[in-house]
Symmetry: C2
Subunit: 155 residues, 2 copies
């Protein structure tokens, strides 16, 4: 078991693009969500992974396992109907941390979210100018919730 | 991906015990259940497995992965509160098939269920005399439902 300690922000503008080092496309779906526990399947290129996350905002328990990409494709197609999303993830290194800027697609087009994993919950963080309102504790913006949304959250 | 084709029956009496070949204790919990999809973690001795099942009664899609027993113990303790059960499973071979007779414990004490996996949905099955009412299509008796039950289903 690991803990994921992550802060998340809405992204404003395009200034972050100048510092992008890597970009990859992600497709992910939620097999099931219950009492804050979510079980996600994600495909990135030829790689696929199953991730179980516990409840929480800033700090979440997390278990991750690589699985055959074929299995993941079957799960996305057959078991995640109405609970999936697509996004392009851009990595932006800053102060020794890696910001991940997710540009959502489909029904969520227009939504851009930046996530940054921290080594500790109280780790100091310099928030770049392109990172706007913090949404770490806003359940509407959890990926598990976005996967069922028909449009980006408002307000 | 595989398919699980399984019929299930309530068990009457103790006559099945004379034909038991192997017995093992199982502890299992449900990380999450949604729209008929369930994600189960099971510990049997030193071995642990994560199992994803799709909706359905007789025929269900199924994905299974071995995981570290330590992870499974953490999941059971931390992420499956109110969604777990314990049972002793007895294997009873019959006509080239293996009947699994599950004797439930704790809040489900008194419940005994026999499951038999079939190679095809229309595979002929000789139902032994100790197997009573069929519960394949009764959602109250699904293990995912039993894990949250405070007593065996009635009627």
């Amino acid at each position: 078991m690991a803990f994921e300690i992550e802060r998340r922000f809405l992204v404003q503008g395009e200034a972050w693009r100048t510092d992008v080092t890597t970009t990859r496309h992600l497709r992910q779906g939620y097999l099931a969500r219950e009492d804050g526990v979510s079980v996600r399947v994600r495909v990135a290129g030829d790689a696929a992974r199953l991730t179980i996350k516990g409840p929480g905002g800033l700090v979440r328990r997390e278990f991750e396992y690589d699985i055959p990409a074929r299995d993941a494709e079957d799960m996305l197609a057959l078991l995640c109907a109405g609970r999936s999303l697509r996004k392009t993830r851009h990595e932006v290194p800053l102060d020794g941390l890696v910001w991940e800027v997710d540009v959502f697609e489909g029904a969520l087009a227009g939504l851009v979210v930046a996530e940054v994993e921290l080594p500790a919950a109280d780790h100091p963080l310099r928030v770049p100018a392109w990172a706007g309102r913090e949404i770490t504790a806003d359940p509407r913006y959890a990926n598990a919730a976005l996967a069922s949304a028909t449009a980006p959250p408002r307000g």
